[in-house]
């Protein structure tokens, strides 16, 4: 109802904001060149690495001048984001404005597009990989390479630095050992008659990234490949037919209630449930199925027209520092720099020990393979399940 009049107001605001940013842009270089730090001076919005600022301290100073950082879609109980934001605020004295914590990746992209040039536009984005790729193709992100850039595997970053994978996890099977005598360890196990009416996904795979990961992993477990997700769809069709699969979306509420005693979800969410429900009659066990190993990472990107460009870059530097990476680790997520950190001893060993066990290194689908899998899923999922 309000949207139309709000949109008009937004248009007025937008033009005002454009004017102010334009004049601000004109003024910024003068201040910079007049500065006495003597380091390479570049507009924060054009900086592609910390070297463009001279040092991390110079970057922090520029960010503090801005004083704020707009983030979107960061739920405090997801991968420890609550603590990460608090630590960043305390360390750099920068106010983090969180917006719509439960937003989806497409909401984030929509916010970037619709608030171009406004002060309220998000500075940094935490995106599903498909949206990181499509957003880069639409030229929405500013290229930026964090200090640890070289240690990130090539498959986990955009060559130009427009997006970089940050943290992720494996598809896992969470299971309430208080209700299920023997917990399933593999996808093949899930077909056993003893799990009738017990297996759920975290959402609808045509919408939820983790549920999509579940179907992808099931495909790998059933002679499928990154390019061929059909066996995964068939697997869930079979689960549905045998009555094992329940289409209810598993949430903390359904897990606690016992309605979804077996839930396929990211291992960091399942591991988090184990903590959350300890002592509430739920004995939540997490297994990464050995027959369908699938990992997926989320990506960070900087809004090309970020209202706080220096703070946005400082946020990335913080996330990819040992401190930031360890905070994700504390939330059971696997930070992208973990292999290197395990080698040089900066990884939080206690947190590493608590992660569910996985063998081998993860592989990632190519862009075209992912697109193909999604198209197949959108076309076939409903039919297979109804």
């Amino acid at each position: 109802m309000l949207s139309s009049s709000a949109r008009r107001g937004a248009a007025v605001l937008l033009s005002a904001a454009v004017l102010t940013t334009l004049s601000a842009c004109g003024a910024a270089p003068d201040q910079k060149s007049g500065g006495a730090d003597g380091a390479k001076s570049v507009q924060p919005g054009a900086a592609t690495s910390v070297a463009d600022f001279g040092s991390l301290e110079a970057l922090a100073a520029a960010a503090q001048k801005e004083g704020e950082l707009n983030v979107i879609a960061l739920p405090p109980d997801w991968a420890n984001y609550g603590e990460i934001i608090k630590a960043f605020e305390a360390k750099y004295k920068i106010k983090v404005n969180g917006e719509n914590p439960d937003a989806s990746s497409s909401d984030e992209i929509a916010a970037v597009k619709s608030r171009k040039g406004q002060k309220r536009a998000p500075d940094v984005l935490d995106l599903g990989i498909a949206f990181a790729r499509s957003g880069a193709a639409e030229n929405l992100f500013a290229p930026y390479k964090v200090t640890g850039w070289d240690k990130i595997p090539a498959a986990q970053k955009d060559a130009d630095g427009r997006w970089t994978n940050d943290y992720g996890g494996y598809v896992s099977i969470g299971c309430d050992a208080a209700r299920i005598p023997t917990c399933p360890q593999t996808f093949a196990d899930l077909l056993k008659p003893e799990y009738k009416g017990k297996v759920a996904l975290n959402g609808n795979p045509t919408k939820s990234g983790s549920a999509f990961g579940g179907v992808y992993a099931a495909a790998l477990a059933n002679k499928g490949s990154f390019a061929d997700i059909q066996p995964g769809i068939d697997f869930f069709g079979q689960l549905k037919k045998s009555g094992n699969f329940i289409p209810v979306e598993s949430t903390p509420a359904t897990v606690e209630k016992g309605e979804t005693p077996i839930s396929i979800d990211w291992d960091y969410l399942n591991a988090g449930y184990a903590d959350q429900f300890k002592g509430k009659g739920v004995d939540w066990k997490v297994a990464v199925p050995t027959d369908g190993v699938y990992a997926q990472y989320y990506s960070q990107a900087v809004n090309k027209e970020a209202p706080n460009p220096a703070a946005a870059r400082l946020w990335l530097e913080f996330l990819y520092s040992a401190e930031g990476q360890n905070l994700w680790l504390k939330g059971y997520a696997r930070p992208v720099l973990l292999p290197g950190m395990t080698q040089d001893g900066t990884a939080d060993q206690a947190a590493v020990a608590k992660l569910p066990q996985v063998q081998g290194t993860p592989a990632f689908p190519a862009s075209e393979e992912l697109d193909k899998a999604k198209a197949t899923l959108a076309e076939k999922w409903d039919k297979a399940l109804s």
Partner: protein, 296 residues
């Protein structure tokens, strides 16, 4: 009406004077409708028939989104939504009328106000809380399911039938609310007159009651259909993608973490929904106009 009996004399001037003033009075309403329905509808229609290339930002006209929205899983979801809405509106409408009639004819004022208040509350109880209430009571490990061993009777909440039952939970009270005033309008004198002319109860309903109630019944059906057709959160929490519904498809395409670049198909689906709602209204409006005069 009086102007038809004395044409020309006073009618002309009066009408002319009234004309602009009536216009002025409706202006706020027209502005409101234009802004709040017109602009979104226009934006939706525009998005449904155009496509912007991500690479260069060029926009061109295309029928591809509308065509896609009427194929494959999208078409299935439209059909699924219409089936579910029609069935629940029909069942909810019939049960609602029966309950409302019982409440209206009972002499207890307490029962009447209690039933109407409860209906007012229940008709607005929806979304995820309702879904979870059902999960907790008649889900697979729900309290009632366990106690009464419902699974043995083939009960499954996460199916088309289960969803229909959940929808009825708020549709029946809604029908009670909208039909009770119409039942009140059914004057006792008419029944007495029918009886003293020797009509049976069945004849009364067949020739007097139902024809008089028809527009309200139809209106109630349309309202229920629309409510069920547009419902989203309850279904999303209960059945995910396993019962194809158009609102779920729109949500998948518009605000998901998986499918990219499907926004225009979602807008096309929205347009399809408006067309279907329009068709239902097109059947309802003329019928209502024909028989509404009985209930003045």
């Amino acid at each position: 009406m009086s102007s038809t009996t004395d044409p020309r004399v006073a009618g002309g001037t009066r009408r002319r004077r009234r004309g602009p003033r009536t216009w002025l009075a409706t202006l706020p309403l027209l502005t409101f409708t234009g802004l709040c329905f017109g602009i979104p509808l226009g934006a939706m229609a525009y998005g449904a028939v155009t496509r912007t290339e991500p690479a260069n930002g060029a926009t061109r006209l295309t029928g591809e989104h509308l065509a896609r929205s009427l194929q494959g899983p999208y078409l299935d979801s439209l059909i699924g939504s219409v089936q579910l809405s029609a069935l629940t509106a029909l069942v909810g409408g019939v049960l609602g009328v029966v309950i409302a009639q019982a409440v209206v004819t009972s002499r207890s004022a307490g029962l009447r106000s209690a039933a109407l208040t409860a209906s007012g509350v229940l008709a607005n109880f929806g979304g995820v809380p309702l879904a979870f209430a059902f999960i907790a009571t008649v889900g697979i490990s729900g309290v009632v399911t366990q106690l009464a061993d419902l699974t043995a009777f083939g009960w499954n909440l996460y199916s088309f039938t289960g969803l229909a039952v959940v929808y009825l939970y708020f549709l029946i009270p809604l029908m009670v609310l909208v039909i009770a005033p119409a039942l009140d309008g059914l004057r006792p004198q008419w029944r007495e007159a029918a009886q003293s002319s020797g009509a049976t109860g069945r004849q009364f309903w067949r020739h007097v009651g139902l024809p008089v109630l028809a527009p309200s019944l139809l209106g109630g059906f349309v309202l229920l259909f629309g409510t069920a057709f547009a419902a989203h959160a309850t279904a999303a929490a209960l059945v995910g993608g396993s019962v194809p519904l158009v609102t779920l498809k729109i949500a998948d395409a518009l605000s998901g973490n998986v499918l990219t670049g499907q926004e225009n198909v979602a807008l096309a689906l929205g347009l399809d929904m408006i067309l279907i709602a329009g068709l239902v209204m097109a059947v309802y409006l003329p019928l209502q106009r024909r028989s509404a005069r009985w209930l003045r």
